[in-house]
Amino acid sequence: MSDFFSSPEFNEAWEIFKTQFPTAIWETVYVTVISTFFAIVIGLPLGVLLVTGEKGGIRPIPSPLLKLINWVINILRSVPFLILMILVIPLTRAIIGTSIGTTACIVPLTIAAFPFAARLAESSLREVSPSTLEMAQSMGASPFKIITKVLIPESIPSLISNATIAITTVLGYSAMSGIIGGGGLGKIAINYGYYRYKYLVMIIAVILLILIVQLFQSVGTLLAKKTDKRLKKA
């Protein structure tokens, strides 16, 4: 063992660890959290529209509009992330001021993740019992009130656990940020592990990623359970 700890591999990994990891951890968390946040901010309303807007829904919207939303979501979900990243460069430049670097990743990540978030939200919201919605309708609640006071609150546990799925997926995508000059643990794992076979560095990066995912997941699961009032607790 003492051999290993004085081996050049170890020294090199330790050096990289000290110099690059603190920033990388921060970059990973920051990009992931912000992108997921925006993805939810855009995706949740779309998910709501998908559920409430359909024929027989709470607030039907014109069928062509609904189709359009479905198409946009499907289109963005179909474009491989690599290509998406490149295609949105003009947009990134317009919003962030530059198309490169860690912050610039937020735009393609958000654009890749919001359709995903919309589908997850849709799936959660569909679980709210129609009779609960009926109750709110019978009281003359406006579609907006039904959405904000019934549809979303009643599916909060499921929305939270799906948001956890979304943030983990965004974290995975963020590993590709190297393509546009971004940073983060994923990039380190790929650059050192994939391109340079420095597996020790890669493993450390991956372990840190695992810890972050584990953290997100634990918080998500806990919150989902805490907020769920349907369960009988003895």
Binding site: G101, G178, I179, I180, G181
Partner: protein, 270 residues
Amino acid sequence: GDSSSSGEGSSKGNESITIAIPNDTTNEARALLLLQDKGYIKLKDGAGITATSLDVADNPHNIQFKEVEAAQLPNVLKDVDYAIINSNYAIDAKLNPVKDSLAIEGSSSAYSNILAVKDGRQNDDIIKALKAALESKDVADLIKEKYDGSVVSTVDKPTDGYDESIDYSSLSGKSVTVAASPTPHAEILAKAKEILAKKDITLKITEFTDYVQPNNVVESGEIDANYFQHQPYLDDFNKQNNTHIVSVSSIHVEPLGLYGGKQKNLDALK
């Protein structure tokens, strides 16, 4: 994926030979050109630095090409008869380009990796300073020591790191940004960074794991220079994308080698 060759591919009696080649534009073409040089295949007329396996005109050995990402070639070596691998990947994967390769590109400077900038900026002082640092003896030494023959410096007359024709004091406090591939380019630049730091010039290295964006960001002016490609690739890029990027210096070359996987020698290609 399994792009079998055209041409004589129909001769089913022949046992086919699988060769894994890089799947990116220039490396794929270089690999095919290497095979053509060795006389194993013939490419269509005019197929140059953008050739793909589809451009194989004559394939007497019935070679099946497996296009794989360049960095993955060492990993899949076991699954194929041969693979053509960039030396930098080979050496990281503990293959010795000098001893283990069955055939290797000559260190012809056609594929020398260049420092490139947007046309018109060639004579900017800061670019000149960067160029001088990269052409330094320190960098050449680093390449020699660190890459042990898998990366070869192509600088004829290494400098001391500084260009006498420019006024370094006016550059003090300035910074220059270079887009680079992670390896070996970013590592080589790290040395240049030290050299420039002595003159209070900051070299910012932005790593890209992609072959298109570094040119795009130089063209757009978001980044001052890039260091990841060779001249033929740049020429093709300029032509295809209407960009105006020029080389200011050629720094190093990473020769491609042919390595044996299931085959231990070249007999199968005789």
